[in-house]
């Protein structure tokens, strides 16, 4: 029993170390390619369009409804203590410092991170990535760099959009459903929201973009085992991307607090 437990633990630890090592080496190769190869601007913009424009609707929906729900939930508490004028600042601070970046990150992980893993995974198992190598085209330059850079650059823009949608969603509920004062809502936000609240959220979101695309590209790039392997890589990219993003969220929040 003890031998079995030790064996299982050792096997799991080895697997974890191997995955982490793989991630690190992939990132090292990415950084090397980033500084030694020509940046392909057309592909970068194409990826920014795919990650950014493609995610706008889902980011708008989740942002708006998060703000709306925050308004409803906070109204109950604030009304008891006569502090409904603080609902606006609460929504704004929550959306800019935490919920905007995190919800956008989770949405982009599910939508774009998984797409990266699936696309690169399919290219791997159908030998398209090998074909690039034999044609003297660096697959990292051609496939990975545009995706990771595009996600890192576009995430703050999506997050600003999510923050705005959340504040507007909260406004709509506060004014048209709860009957609060519009001027009070906006005035509270102006009074309590600082520029650093927005920048800390945007810094976090850029890191989230990097993590999501790094995980998605890595899991796709090393995919094996046919269609099942691609499916597994896609699932793992969403799970690992979300977990790593939430871990990074804690440490970044501690740093930027």
């Amino acid at each position: 029993m003890i031998t079995w437990l030790a064996g299982s633990l050792g096997h799991t630890l080895l697997g974890l170390c191997s995955t982490m090592g793989g991630f690190a080496l992939f990132f090292r190769d990415f950084m090397y390619a980033l500084f030694t190869t020509r940046l392909q601007i057309t592909k970068l913009f194409s990826q920014m369009e795919q990650v950014g424009i493609g995610s706008l609707v889902i980011v708008a929906l989740t942002g708006t409804f998060t703000g709306a729900v925050l308004a409803l939930q906070s109204y109950i508490g604030f009304k008891r203590y006569g502090g409904t004028e603080l609902i606006g600042p609460l929504i704004a601070l929550s959306m800019t410092r935490e919920l905007g970046p995190v919800i956008t990150g989770l949405m982009v992980t599910g939508r774009a991170g998984s797409a990266m893993a699936a696309e690169l995974g399919t290219m791997r198992i159908t030998e398209q990535i090998d074909a690039l190598v034999t044609l003297n085209i660096n697959p990292l330059q051609y496939l990975v760099i545009p995706r990771i850079l595009a996600s890192t650059v576009i995430m703050p823009f999506l997050t600003v959009f999510s923050m705005a949608c959340g504040i507007i969603g909260g406004y709509i509920v506060c004014i048209y459903s709860l009957g609060l004062n519009s001027q009070q809502y906006m005035e509270g936000i102006r009074k309590y929201l600082e520029f650093s609240d927005i920048t800390s959220g945007l810094i976090k979101s850029a890191f989230f973009g990097l993590i999501i695309s790094w995980v998605g590209c890595y899991k796709g790039y090393v995919a094996s085992g046919g269609a099942r392997g691609v499916g597994l890589s896609t699932t793992q990219s969403v799970v690992m991307g979300s977990i790593l993003m939430l871990l990074a969220n804690y440490f970044l929040t501690s740093l930027l607090f």
Binding site: T122, M123, T126, E127, Q128, D130, A131, L132, V133, T134, L135, N136, I137, Y142
Partner: protein
């Protein structure tokens, strides 16, 4: 000349896919490597082009060992190689023009510059220009393989490696592909290495090597394979279920 010397390869702690393999591939000739499914023929080809690193041994190209050569020198040598994949490995997201001309587009050439070169390569593989705007999924298996060959020819390789180029094709298309490979080899005096299960390849190849259990069991002139009394070759080309291959496979 390409020399494979004492080449060993295994994945993890698994069996040796190449187990002390030695083979010489002469310049300007077509060498066919034959063998049963799962013998590691594709792995051997991928080791030659650097897609899979060997566990040990040497791969000499014109006297330079690709395994120990500095990366710049290795890169320069590998630029002489072309590789035609088993299922063509065309990029799904690009049309045929972009697929064939990908190396030129990546060098920063414009469509006006690339188009005539691509059309010329298409003519070489007996395909018409009207497929240029199509996607790979719209082509038949045989056409995809010819497009794959055209893409490889763009970089004017001196050595071309074919990984089972006729797998899954009907006999007529198989013959067309074989004749195309033969014509390319004669026209450009290329060194060709062909992985195949198909005994029809003997009509076009100059030399034949038989891979079994990680070693080359026979290597000789393609024109005399049917007269050979090598027991491995005799069993393989006649498709006999019993013989040395069967006995050795059972041992493993």
């Amino acid at each position: 000349m390409i020399q494979l010397i004492d080449l060993h390869k295994r994945f993890g702690t698994g069996r040796w896919v190449t187990d002390g393999l030695n083979l010489e591939i002469p310049d300007g000739k077509m060498t066919a490597i034959i063998g049963r499914s799962g013998e590691g023929k594709s792995v051997l080809l991928k080791q030659m082009i650097g897609l899979i690193p060997p566990t040990s041994g040497a791969i000499n190209v014109d006297g330079v060992d690709l395994i120990t050569a500095p990366s710049a020198q290795k890169e320069k040598i590998l630029q002489q190689f072309g590789y035609v994949f088993q299922f063509a490995a065309l990029l799904d997201s690009l049309n045929i023009l972009r697929n064939i001309g990908i190396t030129l587009f990546e060098q920063g050439k414009s469509e006006e510059e690339v188009l005539p070169i691509v059309k010329e390569k298409l003519r070489l593989v007996n395909l018409s220009d009207d497929i240029l705007d199509k996607n790979p999924s719209e082509l038949s298996g045989g056409m995809r393989k010819r497009v794959g060959l055209a893409r490889t020819l763009i970089s004017q390789p001196k050595i071309i490696l074919y990984d089972e180029p006729t797998t899954g094709l009907d006999p007529i298309t198989t013959r067309i592909i074989h004749e195309l490979m033969f014509d390319m080899q004669k026209k450009f005096n290329m060194t060709s290495v062909v992985i195949s299960h198909d005994v029809e390849i003997f009509k076009y190849a100059d030399r034949v090597a038989l891979l079994h259990q990680g070693k080359i069991r026979y290597c000789g002139d393609a024109k005399t394979v049917w007269e050979s009394d090598n027991p491995y070759l005799y069993q393989f080309i006649r498709g006999l279920p019993e013989g040395p291959m069967d006995a050795e496979t059972a041992k493993h």
